[in-house]
């Protein structure tokens, strides 16, 4: 074995331990051998460089699509890319709804398609190729971007001061039939308006009832009752030259509403008058055992009309004159 073969075996890691020891002994003591070794080392180094150079050239023209080693799950670059893409998707979707006046029901699909398609295209461009693995990765990345974009949307609506209930703070309700994007949907707005109107109506009723001081407000609905004018004279007998006084009312008997009348707790019968208004009659014998100095006595009776859950009462006073 000549010197060059000996050195060649060294670079191919084929030396036995004994040969290895002999090799290093010659290298330190034989100048001619050392010179040959330096030349062979230069060749060997050039071969190593040649391999690396070929690889570098291939990286420049042919992309390598092998899984990258990532010990860190989400690094800064990934997080920033994710956030920026989500922001872009959100802006795109929001502008789509403004420009095309798409309903919220469809905007969520615009957002999802943009997120998934964008992720797959970016992955394909970065790797300069496309495969099933890349497409699936892009799909899941797109979902992640979509969820993040919907989060940005929720934050935006919250920041605008839109009244939102906690129960409505949902992100992707694909299982339900309610649109989610924008969070304050058309249906939500209508529901809120309806409640507001209901509250307003209730407030007006309470206000009217309190102003009239007539107890609980009665809603007869659109069905009107029977009306009749009622004139209640202060006195049916008037001396000549004196003033005749009477109170005038419009009495109504609601149709379809049951009501009862009683005098001092005893029910009285009701009959319709010619105008159709139900009327009850009070009839009793006026009696008194004692009279005052003027020969009269003051008495009263209680009239009660019960309608639905309310009872309207009136105390009626009358005077009994002592017979002569």
């Amino acid at each position: 074995m000549d010197d060059l073969e000996f050195i060649e075996k060294y670079f191919r890691n084929e030396l036995t331990p004994e040969e290895h020891a002999r090799f290093h002994k010659r290298l330190s003591g034989d100048a001619e051998f050392k010179q040959k070794f330096d030349a062979e080392s230069l060749v060997h180094k050039a071969i190593q460089f040649s391999r690396e150079k070929e690889r570098m050239k291939s990286y420049a023209v042919n992309p390598v699509t092998v899984k990258a080693v990532h010990t860190q799950w989400l690094d800064k670059r990934t997080l920033i890319s994710l956030g920026a893409t989500a922001l872009a998707v959100w802006i795109f979707s929001t502008f789509s709804s403004s420009v095309t006046s798409l309903s919220p029901e469809y905007i969520k699909w615009v957002g999802m398609v943009a997120a998934v398609a964008g992720s797959i295209v970016v992955l394909a461009l970065r790797n300069r190729t496309m495969s099933i693995t890349l497409a699936v990765t892009g799909l899941f990345n797109g979902f992640l971007v979509f969820v993040l974009a919907s989060g940005i949307d929720s934050i935006n609506h919250g920041a605008e001061g839109t009244p939102m209930e906690t129960s409505k703070a949902y992100l992707i309700p694909f299982t339900g039939d309610k649109p989610w994007w924008p969070t304050q949907s058309l249906e939500d707005s209508l529901e809120a308006n309806r409640k507001q109107m209901q509250e307003l109506r209730s407030n007006i009723r309470a206000l009217v009832a309190s102003r009239l001081n007539a107890g609980p407000y009665l809603n007869f609905g659109s069905a009107a009752g029977k009306f009749t004018p009622v004139v209640v004279p202060r006195s049916s007998t008037v001396s000549s030259g004196a003033t005749y006084e009477a109170d005038v009312f419009l009495a109504m008997s609601p149709e379809g509403q049951k009501f009862e009348m009683s005098v001092d707790g005893k029910p009285i019968s009701m009959e319709p008058d010619p105008s159709g208004v139900l009327k009850g009659s009070v009839s009793f014998t006026a009696t008194a055992n004692q009279f005052d100095q003027t020969g009269t006595v003051r008495k009263k009776f209680l009239v009660a009309i019960k309608l639905r859950d309310s009872t309207y009462t009136k105390v009626v006073e009358y005077t009994i004159v002592k017979p002569r």
């Binding site: 230069l42 060749v43 150079k53 990258a68 080693v69 990532h70 010990t71």
Partner: protein, 181 residues
Amino acid sequence: MSDEEYLEGIRNDNPAVQKAFYESYQDIVKGVVYKYDSSGEIGFEDHYQDVMVIVCTKIKSGALTVLTAKLSTYLHSVAYNLLLYKIRKTGKTVPLDGVESIPESDGPDIDHLEMLALELLHDLGPPCNEIMIDWYLNQLDYEQIAEKHKYKNANTAKKKKGDCLSRVRVAAEQLLKSKEM
């Protein structure tokens, strides 16, 4: 990707990591070339590949295992020293106006042998470089080389390898002599 991940990936011959490494430090080397090579004779692409070749070989051979500074600092140092070597070879002077002090690299310096090996690469074109890589680095025998490179038999492969080696040995010896002079 962190510096340690780059070192580990390149040491384990992971092509994806090496590619990521190759794509990540172009700006640093570009800055060195544009700043110090006012003549514009040193092409950035070639210089960048030379820097990458040297650093990757050092990592794989175990000469660079631990970094006390950033990998980018080391790359900057290698790019600068190699650029000086190349400019000197052209016989021109390096303008010192605006030259800042290069930070300590905290890694193995480029040695004389590596500078010469880069030059020797010009004498190691295909298919000789491929046969030599298979023989020395991939540890293939002559039969495997014959099969891979479609030679008639192992003897033909041996003869081809012998011719390539003789040629590159001559070039290496001439290179060594020229530098000694």
